[in-house]
């Protein structure tokens, strides 16, 4: 699970990604100036709450942002040298599943209720490789077995409604990994699942990652899940990255007041929390972001500078940590660290 970070070429390079939506209520700045690298075999957790833009940024990686109303205003997504922004739909269909795959929060809507699951998983094979139906079915059953579905051979002929939520999520994983993509994007894969099932699924993902060496982008709001699987963390707020760094560093010394606030507001199982310290206020409206630093209305450290100018990601420490805050590393900020 904790693969050593490689200094060689990143698998995926995102630079200044900016996604906007034109809606009746105004322009929604879903993602603004997002930049990060992803290396083979590592797990990057993109964290944020509703309105943070984390899901949209993932959709952009798969070319799934609906293009009317959405548009990629600027930025680049470079996958092993290939530029993904502006890619033709034809090229996307070759890329999806084969190189980059995605699983979603709700497995129910991703599975077609009228086709047997083995058939649906097999479809991926038939579309990308030239193999016959029976062979595809057989491979599908193999995959189902690999993701831990008992009686895979028989169950490949069953329909989605005959599987429980956790099982369906496994099916989605099977579909996503059929062609052994280099990157798997998991968008809130366990949010809708019970905690015991969540544990099963996260374990499965870790296993598969070890076996295939694929990179995992985990999109979530759950600090616990991130702590258990992530190598690196990227925190988003109001469409921007506000902090990135190695997971261990991040939890030990969160630099951005929002991240500090999150840490302080989460009740813990294994350590005592006297009083929770919630972040006051609520996440900003996606149509009307605050001026300057988007977090300032909720930040105890904010001053006039914060209200008028927007901080960029600045490097701290040995270069692996970046925080977008004028007040990071000030004594007041350091006091808020756990």
């Amino acid at each position: 699970m904790s693969a050593p970070l490689r200094e060689d070429n990143p698998l995926l390079t995102v630079r200044d990604l900016t996604v906007r939506f034109d809606t009746e209520d105004g322009i929604v700045n879903a993602v603004s100036d997002l930049s990060y690298d992803l290396f083979a075999g590592e797990t990057l957790a993109i964290m944020g709450e509703s309105g943070s833009g984390k899901s949209v940024s993932a959709q952009a990686l798969m070319g799934l942002v609906p293009m009317p109303p959405g548009r990629i205003e600027k930025g680049s997504i470079s996958f092993v040298g290939q530029e993904l922004v502006g890619l033709e739909e034809n090229d996307w269909t070759n890329l999806r599943g084969e190189e980059i795959a995605m699983i979603f929060q709700d497995p129910l809507t991703s599975l077609n209720p009228v086709f047997p699951v083995g058939w649906q998983i097999g479809e991926t094979f038939r579309l990308h490789r030239t193999i016959g139906r029976r062979e595809a079915m057989r491979k599908a059953a193999e995959l189902m077995d690999r993701v831990g579905i008992p009686n895979a051979g028989k169950r490949a002929r069953q329909f989605p409604h005959q599987f429980s939520g956790g099982m369906r999520q496994r099916l989605m994983i099977a579909m996503a990994l059929a062609l052994e993509p280099k990157i798997l994007i998991a968008d809130e894969p366990t949010t809708a699942l019970d905690v015991t099932v969540q544990a099963q699924i996260m374990d499965l993902l870790a296993d598969l990652q070890r076996d295939t060496g694929m990179a995992l982008i985990l999109i979530t709001h759950d600090l616990g899940v991130v702590a258990s699987v992530a190598d690196r963390v990227l925190v988003m707020y109001a469409g921007r990255a506000v902090e990135t760094g190695r997971a261990g560093d991040f939890y030990a010394r969160p630099g951005h007041p929002y991240a500090q606030g999150l840490m302080g507001s989460v009740p813990r199982l294994l350590s005592d929390t006297d009083r929770l310290l919630p972040i006051p206020g609520h996440p900003p409206s996606v149509v009307q972001l605050p001026t300057g630093c988007s977090f300032h209305p909720r930040c105890a450290l904010a001053d006039d500078h914060c209200r008028t100018s927007r901080p960029d990601l600045t490097v701290y420490g040995d270069g692996s940590r970046q925080v977008a805050c004028f007040k990071a590393e000030t004594p007041a900020a350091l006091r808020n660290q756990p």
Binding site: F21, T23, E24, D25, V28, A30, E49, S50, G51, S55, V56, Q59, L64, V65, P66, G70, T93, R96, G97, M102, F104, D106, T109, S110, L111, N112, Q120, E123, T124, M175, P280, G281, H282, P283, P284, S285, V286, V287, Q288, L289, P290, P297, R298, C299, A300, A302
Partner: protein, 331 residues
């Protein structure tokens, strides 16, 4: 996976954009501990529906038709300088000598059998139609909402009883039943508007009950209804205050379409001689009297026919548009 992925993404996106779902509020001023409410973007379902509707030309067409129809009823004076009174033209403007003339500069719609200005007649005909339509619709709505509430809210035996009743009623051919009821109710001479209203209204309720019952079933399981129950609210209060305002919309839509249907039905019944009495100024009467004379004086049939057609059309189109605009939002 591709097709369903797309669908899923769109849903997610809509969820993220709808201010109702995001934890979003307006830009909070300062860092007070009091949670400020959102800004004044009153994004209600009604506003969304309005925005959708006002862009479609057909909406304005239907609105125009209805507006004309309604104003003919309320202020017929706007349309015709002649004020004949309740459907009976004053002698002043009826010259037997002018009987059955075609449209001319003096008489836009020509004259009728008695030589009265036809335009006036037809215009005033709107009044009766609308009155009967409103009355019948009101009756249907009242019965429908009452029974629908009982069936939907209490379920069990009452629900079964009412549902079977609906089935029974639906088995009756509507017009035939109306004709029978009306013939039995009163003879031709003794019949008046109220009889017709009652007959049409009483026969139209099954559709409303079904619709309202479905609405009630959906609303009653929502948490705010449960909360009212938990507060100790009486069933009557819950049904009136919590269920009704939220379950009404589909029924109102149906009622709009229903208005158009009732207008036509009343005209049909009157045409067949079982509706309004012969001396009322209903379009049905006019049409009935005009059919025999079609060859010589087609205008006698065409004008009331056209008014009937467009009046009905306006309501029906509006009903359909409202359904489209409001329904998905209700889900």
């Amino acid at each position: 996976m591709r097709g369903s992925t797309r669908v899923f993404v769109m849903t997610e996106l809509t969820d993220a954009l709808a201010p109702e779902n995001a934890e979003g509020g307006g830009g909070g001023r300062g860092s007070s501990n009091v949670d400020l409410a959102t800004d004044d973007t009153k994004r209600t379902h009604l506003r969304d529906a309005w925005r959708l509707l006002r862009r479609r030309p057909i909406f304005w067409v239907a609105a125009f038709l209805i507006a004309v129809f309604v104003s003919m009823t309320i202020v017929p004076q706007l349309f015709t300088a002649i004020a004949p009174g309740e459907g009976n033209p004053s002698g002043e403007f009826c010259f037997l000598a002018d009987s059955r003339q075609g449209p001319s500069a003096d008489h836009w719609f020509g004259t009728d059998v008695q030589g009265c200005d036809y335009y006036t007649q037809v215009t005033y005909g709107a009044r009766i139609s609308l009155r009967v339509a409103l009355g019948a619709t009101a009756i249907t709505l009242t019965i429908g909402i009452l029974l629908g509430s009982l069936a939907g809210y209490y379920s069990g035996f009452i629900d079964t009883l009412i549902s079977r009743l609906i089935d029974g009623f639906l088995a009756l051919p509507y017009l035939v039943a109306a004709i029978i009821v009306l013939s039995v109710l009163a003879s031709n001479a003794g019949r008046n508007e109220w009889h017709v209203m009652a007959a049409i209204g009483a026969l139209g309720w099954p559709a409303v009950v079904r619709l309202y019952r479905a609405s009630v079933l959906q609303v009653k399981s929502l948490e705010y209804v449960q909360a009212a129950k938990a507060l100790g609210a009486s069933d009557a209060r819950i049904l009136a205050r919590h269920v009704l305002p939220n379950a009404l919309a589909p029924v109102l839509v149906e009622a709009t379409t229903g208005m158009g249907v009732v207008i036509s039905v009343e005209a049909t019944l009157t045409f067949f001689g079982v509706g309004l009495p012969l001396d009322s100024a209903s379009w049905g009467i006019m049409i009935a009297e005009a059919t025999g004379r079609f060859e010589n004086s087609p205008h006698l049939l065409l004008f009331p026919g056209a008014y009937l057609f467009f009046g009905t059309l306006g309501f029906i189109i509006m009903g359909e548009l409202l359904r489209e605009a409001l329904d998905p939002r209700l889900r």
